[in-house]
Amino acid sequence: MKRTRVFYWQFAFTLLVCAFLIVPVIMSIMAGVTVNFFQGIKSGMTLRWVFEVWDLYSETIYLSLLISVVCLACTIVLGVPAAYVLAKKQGRVARMVEEFLTLPLAIPGLAIALALLITYGGFRDFRMSWAFILVGHVLYTLPFMLRSVLAVLSSADFRTLEEGAASLGANFWQRFFGIVIPNCRSGILAGSLMVVTLSMGEFNLTWMLHTPLTKTLPVGLADSYASMRLEVGSAYTLVFLIMIIPLLMALQLYGRPAKPRAVVEEEVEEILSAGASGALALPREGGR
């Protein structure tokens, strides 16, 4: 294919956009390991700022990890069963429930945080604990788990599988844990990566809900940008990037649950007799 002038024009434009997004990240990383950013790289490189960040803010890193893991557990326990019910029921009530559960996405975090503060701010112990932040994170991330699992379930023919299992005598819970859950694993994985990444970076809600004793990583970042020298803020940003880059890479790999996975043979056999497994294998194509 010959390259036209339009090609080079668009190529140059795209490179410019890339530079716009990436150059400040590189500058920030450099600033985090430079002795004096104002004098530039010639002032020498150091890990001093990174250690300083660790001394000052390591608590925020632990708290963010803790909240994102607990938040993930909550969204799985609450969201996956709800997604199954919504995939199964197509009626008006089900659509209203779906609308209701995804509403936190359409309302700015600031408004949700304000509402939580007005309603539960008076419960001192709750207000002072990190559980208060957790509630906000669960509201905000649950729609992503729900959507992700729902996408997989609506492209998988889990009804046929369930009917097969039921005709062989599997009861509701056996079918739910033996057929449905294993079949939406790819959706749970994609949703989980999304939930953890969002929870780690959540600021809008968290800034309103935090207390001096419950600071998360982004809250600490805002704090360091406002009150510390540029190098410390940069080093802190560097720490944040190191924490989310693996998550982002995993999201690129597993983030789009395109095709439902076939039920693994032995799992089917666990619930049913060996002879039924052939009939239960999912069609591999289909979905988006």
Binding site: Q10, F11, T14, L15, V17, C18, F20, L21, I22, P24, V25, M27, S28, V77, L78, P81, A82, V85, L86, K88, K89, V97, L101, T102, L103, P104, L105, A106, P108, G109, L110, A111, I112, L114, A115, L116, I118, T119, V138, L139, L142, F172, F176, M200, G201, F203, N204, W207, M208, P218, L221, A222, Y225, A226, L230, G233, T237, L247, L248, Q252
Partner: protein, 273 residues
């Protein structure tokens, strides 16, 4: 078997409904109630329109979000189409770079704007070298615009690329063989094909920009966008009723934008990816 399952299905969906009722529905109801308890009562909503400070911040936020949306859609359509249509060495790296800031919180985006356009920023250095004057605009509306475009590009570009993949190349070939110019193909074939994706991602972009708080918070506390006004009302002025009324208006605007886009684009619009 369908009907007998109802109790089981209810058990599965009940926990999330209880949690959402207690921590979302009830608080939102309280927010609406509190908005009517100020000195003006329900008049707080009218005060938004009649008090210059609130009204100006509302208008400024809407204008800013609209401009951000238009700029982001234009940039993402050009680059997204290019990356979807052409295969060349290094394409994957470009795509990763363009989607990398997807998970940056608003505060980090604000810091990136400071890196580019702040007092010690790159743009300042370049303009000082070229013209002798240091251009610093990070701490103003222009800086905020830059930050919002920065965090919107990755989201929109992914949607545009996914939609461009589904366009039928035969239509374009047919148009070209009939003698249509490049520009006509873009206007009559490509843009209409991308329209649903552009509307959907544009609405998300608009809603996110309306409610974004972290970037403005990092750049300066005196940029009067609605989320900053709400924050100031709540924390500094302790005018909780006004803060509640403002955030309800803000929530309504984003909700209406997303729903309008959904009925226009005809598919599910998910906010704030």
């Amino acid at each position: 078997m369908e009907r007998r399952e109802y109790p089981f299905l209810a058990v599965l969906v009940l926990p999330v409904l209880v949690v959402f009722s207690a921590f979302f529905l009830l608080p939102m109801g309280r927010l609406v109630a509190v908005a009517g308890t100020g000195p003006e009562g329900v008049g707080a909503y009218i005060a938004i329109l009649t008090t210059p400070r609130y009204f100006e911040s509302l208008v400024a936020t809407i204008v800013l979000s609209t401009l951000v949306t238009l700029a982001t859609l234009a940039i993402s359509a050009i680059s997204g189409l290019f990356l979807e249509r052409n295969r060349f060495a290094g394409r994957g790296i470009l795509v990763s770079m363009l989607t990398f800031p997807l998970a940056f919180p608003g505060v980090v985006v604000g810091f990136m704007v400071i890196m580019l356009a702040g007092r010690q920023g790159l743009i300042g250095d370049i303009t000082k070298f070229l013209t002798g004057d240091k251009l610093v605009f990070a701490y103003s509306m222009a800086g905020l615009f830059m930050g919002y475009v920065y965090f919107s590009i990755p989201r929109v570009i992914l949607t545009v690329m996914a939609a461009a993949e589904k366009l039928d190349p035969a239509l374009e070939e047919a148009a070209r063989s009939l003698g249509a110019s490049q520009w006509l193909v873009v206007r009559d074939i490509i843009l209409p094909g991308l329209k649903p994706a552009l509307i959907a991602s544009g609405a998300i972009c608009f809603a996110t920009a309306m409610g974004a708080f972290g970037t403005a918070f990092t750049l300066a506390t005196n940029i009067d966008v609605l989320p900053m006004t709400i924050y100031t009302e709540f924390t500094l002025r302790a005018n909780i009723a006004m803060a509640a009324a403002l955030s309800i208006i803000l929530g309504l605007i984003t909700w209406v934008a997303l729903n309008a886009a959904r009925s226009l684009a005809g598919s599910t619009v998910a906010a704030a990816a």
